[in-house]
């Protein structure tokens, strides 16, 4: 697994930059337009959550290669308050921010592999993985 880029998430402009890097990584793995759009959208959701709820964070982008198959990986980490009930947070419509509550569940549906680890009081880490097709 090779690290491609690391993006600090503080402002909304940083989300746009994270999306750009995510898009470039999907181009590098020769992903289809739909796969690229899905991955970039998931990255956008997770990056925004880190800023809105996690007091900002960092998202790292990696290229994974297994038996000749390239995959894109994004890992978003913050040291915010964490999530009390991750299952509830994943449910569509659940939001503590008076917004739509579709981001986490949506991101999970959009990628091939999704993982979230959250510890109340110490932060949240979300991993998104996507292949080219």
């Amino acid at each position: 697994m090779t690290l491609r880029k690391s993006v600090t998430l503080k402002t909304h402009g940083d989300i746009a930059y994270a999306r750009q890097v995510a898009g470039e990584l999907m181009v590098e793995i020769e992903a289809s337009a739909i796969k690229r759009t899905k991955f970039v959208t998931a990255v956008s959701e997770i990056a925004r959550n880190a800023i809105n709820y996690g007091q900002g964070g960092v998202i790292t982008f990696h290229l994974a290669e297994a038996s000749g198959r390239k995959r894109a990986l994004a890992v978003c980490t913050d040291r915010g308050p964490g999530i009390e009930d991750v299952d509830a947070a994943l449910r569509d419509g659940f939001s503590t921010g008076k917004s739509l509550g579709l981001g986490l569940g949506g991101a999970k549906r959009l990628v091939d592999q999704f993982e979230i680890v959250s510890t109340p009081g110490s932060g949240t880490r979300v991993s998104l993985e996507c292949g080219p097709r």
Binding site: T11, H12, G13, A16, R19, G23, A33, I34, R36, T37, K38, V40, T41, S44, E45, R48, D92, S99, L100, L102, G103, G105, G106, R109, L110
Partner: protein, 116 residues
């Protein structure tokens, strides 16, 4: 932002933050009122993706326009974006789409001619 045949045409940039979106929405409402516009065309061809944040903004703009009696049509949505919105669970209620601004303006002005 410009007005063509009574339709306010607005293009959305990729990197708008919360404040800029609020400013854009205010500007849109002003322009619709000032021009007595009967249509709003939102061009999102500049957006590589539409996440729940952008989708909510589009729905809010359409709602505002509706309150002011203007029909809203979103143009420039890539097919992959439309598919992704479905998976996100975003229905974008009240938001119509068209292929491009010309078609959207024609649909809106044609609609008006039928009514009058």
């Amino acid at each position: 932002m410009m007005t063509i045949n009574g339709c306010v045409v607005v293009a959305i940039r990729d990197d708008l933050d919360d404040q800029e979106i609020v400013a854009l929405q205010d500007q849109l409402v002003d322009e619709v009122a000032r021009q007595s516009a009967h249509g709003v065309v939102i061009d999102i061809s500049g957006l590589e993706i539409v996440d729940t944040f952008a989708g909510r903004m589009l729905a809010a703009m359409a709602q505002m326009a509706q309150v002011m009696n203007a029909r809203t049509i979103v143009v420039g949505m890539r097919p992959a974006v439309a598919m992704t919105l479905v998976e996100l669970g975003m229905t974008l209620e009240g938001v119509e789409t068209a292929l491009n601004a010309d078609r959207a303006i024609n649909a809106i002005t044609g609609d008006r001619q039928k009514i009058s």
